[in-house]
Amino acid sequence: MNGSGLECDIDVPETVTTALADRPVAGSVCLEAGAGVGNTTAGLLEAGAARVYAVTNDSEHAKLAHERVVRDNGNRAVVLEADLRCLPLATDSVALITAHGLFNVLPPASLETVATELTRVATPGCHLVIDDYEPLPPNAAVRDLFALENAAAELVTGRPALTFYPAAVLRRLFVGHGWEFDREQTLLDPVPWTENHLESHAAVTRAMASNVSTALEASITEAADNLVRTIGSESVGEMYSLALRLPG
């Protein structure tokens, strides 16, 4: 797994290389929906993608993905700071779409619009890879932190920050848009929620809380700090990879 096609120092996560291993990435024009900091874009380039459009609506992520991955692979990848509900890409223009850890940050109300838009830009025969988390079991300690993050997000934005959709739900969503199911596999079991992950989620929670009343902010912040401290880290839940294909 040593990057013949990649000019950067990123260690592509095993989750990404595993999810892409049985997909025809080499030579394909790809769309990475929800680019994050560029890990999947790096994986697509490493696997020989002809071109990668890395789309994110987060300007900090766009900057990081550009610096970490895109800058040194300038001819093959580009970061598009755009909304997935309205992509700046032509109809029938991409042959492979990845959504690695995307859907859990999409609120239920956006699912339909995003699925419609991804289907619009997909060529006939296009491949779609969705990597995401199954809902956590009821006894998972990290649920409390995510619940706090969601509560703060709902108060401030009117939307949850995180929704863990079962693989079956996203599969049916895309089958409803004309995609055919190809395969499902387990990427991580259990999912390692490390101290760094927990701290990142706590940071999002604190940032949200800074927009509510001072008294509420103090109690949300205290609760987030306590959860990070008491949970530490936890390995729980499952991350799956779902692959679908458009006929044609």
Partner: protein, 294 residues
């Protein structure tokens, strides 16, 4: 404890190989007990070296008592004929045995060493002569060095029976040829060369000596090992599930019993669980600016 065929040697090695460096930190009575313990748990492959303090000497008595039950690996850091021959005689002497089952080039690090070893008057000539004389049965190689160098050695030494190298979830999670020990495992397996795993239990480097002086380290390993039963088990399971023939315990005697327990209970590890471990350690090692996802 389950066993696996050690390449084409005809020997089935236990899933754990006893790294007898552990005996160096024990008095003779404790060393004897340690050997009895690992044999009792089903370990049948031992590995020792003259550079491990007086481990050879302390292994001697119990090795001789149980000689038939132990597949004995030993090694030398000598690279030339005379030195290797002398070291082999010394090890046979200190161990008090007639024969070493597996004699290994120890700690190959540089390309020029490979030239010396394989060249005229090199250590391998001495190994082959010793094999012809019946002093050793099989030839092996060990290295913590560049995987490309080990691959090169596998290509160039056609009577290599085993290769010993690092394999753990931290190196597997890293891209880049300098971490690609998986390629060594694959090539060795293809060639029918037995694979022995070291550094399976390495957690990381010790803190700098101005923060933690060497004498204050809680373990004798030159790296910081994982040291809870759960971590030892997942590290063992990881290395064994990659397909290594046998996994060697970390050198500190305090950790040996936990590794024995993990090896005895090994029953595979799913690929999703292997990735889970790689992913967890990857994030702990190199935090990226924001880690909401995997």
């Amino acid at each position: 404890m389950n066993t696996r065929p050690l390449g084409e040697t005809g020997h089935d090695s236990s899933l754990m190989t006893f790294g007898a460096i552990a005996l160096n930190w024990l008095e003779q009575e404790g060393a004897d007990q340690m050997v009895e313990l690992v044999l009792d748990r089903g370990v049948n492959h031992f590995d020792v070296a003259p550079s491990y303090g007086d481990a050879e000497v302390k292994l001697g008595p119990k090795l001789r008592q149980h000689r038939e039950d132990i597949f004995l690996g030993c090694k030398t850091q000598e690279r030339e004929y005379e030195g290797a021959k002398r070291k082999l005689e010394q090890s046979l002497n200190r161990l008090g045995v007639e024969k070493i089952d597996l004699y290994q080039i120890h700690g190959l690090e540089y390309e020029h060493e490979l030239e010396t070893i394989t060249g005229d008057g090199g250590a391998l000539e001495a190994f082959r002569d010793a094999k012809a004389e019946g002093l050793i049965d099989h030839i092996g190689l060990t290295s913590h060095g560049d995987p490309q160098l080990i691959l090169d050695a596998l290509d160039r030494i056609d009577d290599l029976a085993t290769v010993m190298f690092p394999l753990n979830p931290v190196v597997v999670g890293k891209d880049g040829d300098e971490y690609d020990y998986k390629a060594v495992l694959e090539r060795a397996t293809q060639l029918g060369v037995g694979t022995l795993g070291i550094k399976a239990f390495a957690k990381g480097s010790w803190p700098p000596t101005d923060e933690l002086p060497e004498r204050d380290r809680p373990y004798s390993n030159w790296y910081e090992p994982v040291d809870t039963p759960a971590e030892i088990e997942e590290r063992f399971d990881f290395a064994a599930s990659q397909g290594m023939t046998s996994v060697i315990n970390p050198g500190d005697p305090k950790l040996v019993a936990m590794v024995l327990d993990a090896a005895k209970r090994y029953d595979g590890m799913t690929e999703a669980a292997q990735r889970s471990l790689i992913e967890r350690l990857r994030h702990e090692q190199s935090p990226v600016p924001e880690q909401l996802h995997h």
